[in-house]
Structure formats: C-alpha cells, structure tokens
C-alpha cells in the first residue's frame, strides 16, 4: 500500500492541472478569507470565532474542490487509459482504489491544516488589532477546525469512490455538482426532518456551520454517518472496478 500511495502522490505532483487546482484553491481560500477579515465591517463578524465562515469548509467550496479532485483521480485514469499500465504493476484493484482514497484524503488533510494553520492565527491577530467584539474560545474553534478537516477528508474519499463507480468524469462531475448545488437544497422541504441525513446537511453538522441547529445531527453522529457513506461508496467503487477494462 505504501508504494501505491507513493505512486499516487507522484501522479498528483506530475499532473499540472491537479496541483495548480490545489494550490489555486488554497491561495484563493486564504487570501479571500484574510481580505474579508482585514477589510470587513465589524458587524460582519460573528459573536464568537468558531462561527467565522472560513472555519466551515462544508459551507465553502473546499469540499467541492476535493470531491472534484477525487473524481478526477479515478476518472483521469480511465480517460487517458493510464488504468491499464497502473494495473500492470499491481493487479489488486481494491488496493489501487484504497491508495487513491488515502492519498486524496491526505492531500485534503494537508490542505486543511495549512489553510487553518494560516487563517486561525491571522483571525486572532485581526480580532485583537481591530478591537473586534468577537469571543475567542480555543475549544469551539478547535472543534470546528477538526470537523472541517474531517469533512474535506471524507469528501475527498467520496470523490474517489464516485469516480470509481461511474468511471466517466463528465457525467459524475456534473451529477455531483447538480446534486450539491441544486437537488439537495430542493429536497430539504419534502424530506422534512429526514433532510438531516443528506450529505450536505451532514457536512454542516460535522463542521458546526449550523451552530446548534436542532434540525442537524451532532458532530460525532454526523462524522460517523459521513464515514459510513464514504465506506459504502468506496465498497461500491471497488466492486465497480472489478468490471472489464477495455478500451
């Protein structure tokens, strides 16, 4: 598995569109959040730091970025038929999928650590220098950061799984975007209390973007349900990868 992960890391680093997307996402996230805090009106700041928007990746585009990267991790292999040489050096398809999930989850974790590692101290400095009336409490901030980190990690794994299930990048990318941007929101009303099981709602619960919204699960349950969803989709992806590889 270690070799497979090492190989996947090299794939990311040698694919310009992948690492540029990652770097661009990180820079945009950090710069836009920093500018927002430095130039924003005091009234725009929440009462406590753990409710500041950049801490909740689930409500930003970061989860979307990693689900796209995860889908591409597998979709690119089929689009360019690099799946064939990949399976010549390791016939274990489940291991290949696992290595991709681990690698992209790792990349997501690294992204989250870097982004939050820059933004949280920056936010504390800005709150103090601008004398803003924002409560800073380490516990809630840490909990939100850990939840956001878990969310991007799980979304990256879900992206890999979706890529393996569908194989073709375009339909799965479009389908995922349509689901997250349109369908899920539209389902909130009809599903009523069951809407809290939807992936977007679980992400909000996980990252505590919804505060103490009673309609959402608690963060631990949300994490467990998101992890279960990722595991089910990865199993489906592994089963799908057993199909014939023809060109």
């Amino acid at each position: 598995m270690r070799n497979a992960v090492r190989s996947e890391v090299r794939k990311i680093l040698s694919t310009r569109s992948m690492w540029i997307l990652l770097l661009l996402g990180l820079v945009l996230e950090v710069v836009s959040s920093f500018v927002g805090m430095a130039a924003g009106k005091p009234i725009d700041f929440p009462a406590s730091l753990d409710q500041i928007s950049f801490l909740h990746f689930g409500t930003t585009n970061v989860c979307l970025l990693f689900v796209i990267l995860g889908i591409r991790a597998v979709g690119d292999e089929f689009a360019y038929d690099t799946i064939t040489p990949s399976l010549q050096v390791d016939a274990n398809r489940a291991r290949l999928l696992g290595a991709k999930a681990v690698t992209y989850a790792g990349a997501a974790a690294l992204y989250a650590v870097i982004a939050l590692g820059i933004l949280v101290p920056a936010a504390i400095v800005i709150v103090h220098t601008r004398h803003l009336d924002v409560a800073i409490s380490a516990g809630p901030v840490m909990a939100a950061a850990v939840g956001s980190l878990a969310a991007v990690v799980l979304w990256a794994a879900i992206g890999v799984a979706l890529g393996a299930v569908v194989r073709h990048r375009v339909p799965v990318l479009v389908g995922t975007l349509v689901w997250l941007a349109i369908l899920e929101t539209g389902l909130h009303g009809p599903l009523k209390s069951a809407a809290k099981f939807l992936p977007g709602q679980l992400t909000s619960a996980l990252t505590r973007a919804g505060g103490s919204d009673p309609k959402l699960f608690g963060p631990v349950v949300a994490t467990a349900l998101m992890a279960a969803l990722a595991a089910i989709l990865l199993s489906a992806g592994a089963a799908s990868l057993r199909r014939d590889i023809t060109k």
């Binding site: 070799n3 090299r10 040698s14 038929d81 390791d90 016939a91 023809t246």
Partner: protein
C-alpha cells in the same frame, strides 16, 4: 487445421542465432546485458492459455482458445483485425475476465502474481499515458508503485533512447516515441515475460531494427516475448513460433520455419521425362503443370515428396526447387484472406 508442436529453433535459453545488427543496436544490446542478468524460468512454459472463451453479449471474441508460449522464444500472435488478439492479451493481463477457460503467466493467473511487474511486462497501447506528464514522470509513477529505484527509470530511458526527450510532455511525443516509452514501462520490473501488442506500430525502420534486436536478445537470455503484429514479414524474421487465430479460434501454432516449410507450395522439377513424372504424380492425386521443356511445376507438394516419388519410379531428376510461401502467404491461406478482400492487396 494444422498444428505444429515441435520445439522452436531458438527454444533453448541460449544459442539464439545472431542476426546482423547496426552499431547502434550493438551498443543497445551491451547496455541491455549490462543491466539484466539471465532470466531464470521457474515454470515449464511462460504462458498457458486453456479453453479460453470470452463473449461480449452476443459477440464471441474468443472461443475455446488454447496454446502455450515457451521460455526463450519470441512468439508471434497473428490474426486478422477482430480475431481476438487484444482480448486474449487483456485476459492474460487480468484486465478482462474470461467467460470460460483460464490463463497463466509463469505458472500463475496474472491477478495472483504478488509482484506482477517483476514477472510480466506489457505494452498494450502506447497511448495509455497521461499527455500532460513527462516521459520520465510516467515511468517514475510506475517505478514507485513497483517499489524500484528511480535510477532504473534513467537506465531505461537511455535504453529506449528517450533520454533527451524524457522531460518533455508526452503530448508532444511521436507515435514511435510513445512506443519506446511503453516498452520502457514494460521493462521497469525486469520481467521474464513480455506481452506486446503491435509494438512496432509507429516505429521507423531503425526503431524496428532496434526492437527486433532487443526481443531476440531478451529471448536469448531465456525470457519469453509474446508479440502481436500485423507486419508479417517482420514477424517472419523475428518470431521463433507463431500462434495464429481467426474469429477467436486457434488456427495454428508452432515454429515459424516448420509452418512455412510444411505449407504446401509449388515445386519446380526438372526431368528428362516430364510426362512420366506428371502421370505418377496424378496417380497419387497431386496436380502439376507442364510449362514446357523439361520443367514440371508441382502444385501443393513438398520437394521431399516429389523427390521420393521420382526415386521410387526411377525417374531421373536434374533439379528440384521449392517455391516457398512466405509467412504472409501462409497466414492469408489459413485465415481466409480472400474472405476479407485482402488477397488482391497481399503483394
């Protein structure tokens, strides 16, 4: 169906006939030898295919195919387009599941090989590379997965003469360069078996010469190369054995030389008694023509058979010349080249 089962001329692990090579080729061979020890076969045969069948819906791509590829040989895999060659190779490499039957490489199904790249190297499609990556990064990705040092990548880039283009993106590579890159990828794990699908595609004459020398050297060191090609003249020079399939079924397998020599060609006999010779041949159901003079053209016979009949009947012969068929002739005859309208284009 003709089946030739005797051992190939180069079936031993050493002593392969040396063919003329260019200076460039010789240096490549030296480099190859320097980086690879003799390949020790661990099983009686390199590749075993038994009762292989693959159906895609109603399409029967492969039907009950069985053959073996011995160690120390280059085995050509021939068949018309759509005969099932690529499907067979994909099944051998675990990419496609057979409907029935089994395949083994070095005594194991591909998906049970613990480190497949160290046993079998494959080149199925030279375009199976991410166009945005460099040749070097493509190989390094695979090397990392196999768990071998990047130094091996540099060695192979030199071997396939891509050293200067190694850091260029693959989208800028010619077809020949992609073939060379694919071959380097196949060789990364120092495998004992090579499975190559049309490896000469896109190669220039020097590249084909290089490939021929490389594969002959690989076989001479005990490896087994299983190579599909539509370049029959090239295959006649390169392969020890051939496996010919058509419509998913085995047509013939065996050494190339036996295949050609056993194929019934024309025999030109010179005799002072042409009519008597023709009568004796006709009595045995062998057709012949008499173009004039002392010559008899015997159809669908071997010189050995004509000579034996003449000797038996006390007919004096001044000479016997076999008009040998080429591998292409044999291939077209076996696969019904005329069926696909190829007969007129064969020369």
């Amino acid at each position: 169906m003709m089946k030739v089962t005797t051992a190939g001329p180069n079936s031993a692990n050493c002593g392969s006939p040396t063919r003329p090579t260019s200076t460039r080729m010789a240096s490549t061979r030296e480099r190859t030898r320097a980086m690879s020890a003799p390949l020790e076969p661990s099983t009686p045969v390199a590749i075993t295919v038994r009762g292989l069948t693959k159906h895609y819906g109603r399409v029967r791509a492969v039907q009950g195919l069985s053959f073996e590829v011995p160690w120390g040989t280059v085995t050509g895999f021939l068949g018309p387009n759509g005969a099932g060659k690529t499907t067979t190779m994909r099944i051998l490499l675990g990419l496609v599941r057979p409907t029935a039957g089994s395949t083994q490489v070095a005594g194991q199904p591909f998906d049970r090989l613990a480190a497949p790249a160290t046993v079998v190297g494959a080149l199925l499609d030279a375009s199976s590379v991410h166009p945005g990556r460099t040749g070097r990064s493509h190989l390094r990705i695979l090397a990392a997965h196999i768990g071998i040092d990047d130094h091996r990548v540099d060695q192979l880039l030199d071997l396939v003469e891509l050293g200067d283009a190694a850091d260029r993106r693959v989208r800028g590579y010619s077809m020949g360069m992609r073939q060379r890159l694919g071959l380097a990828a196949a060789l990364l794990g120092e495998p004992r078996v090579l499975i190559l699908d049309e490896p000469a595609n896109g190669l220039d004459p020097a590249g084909i010469n290089w490939l021929r020398g490389f594969l002959r050297d690989f076989a001479a060191r005990g490896g087994a190369a299983f190579v599909s090609s539509h370049l029959l003249a090239e295959m006649a020079q390169l392969a020890d054995d051939v496996v010919v399939i058509d419509r998913g079924r085995l047509v013939v397998e065996g050494p190339v030389r036996e295949l050609i020599s056993r194929s019934a060609g024309k025999v030109h006999a010179r005799t002072p008694a042409p009519e008597r010779l023709r009568e004796e041949l006709a009595r045995r159901g062998i057709h012949s023509d008499a173009p004039g003079g002392e010559t008899v053209v015997v159809l669908e016979a071997t010189p050995e058979a004509v000579g034996a009949i003449a000797a038996e009947q006390g007919i004096v012969l001044y000479g016997l010349d076999a008009e040998r068929e080429s591998l292409e002739d044999v291939f077209l005859a076996l696969t019904g080249g005329a069926r696909n309208g190829r007969k007129g284009a064969r020369r």
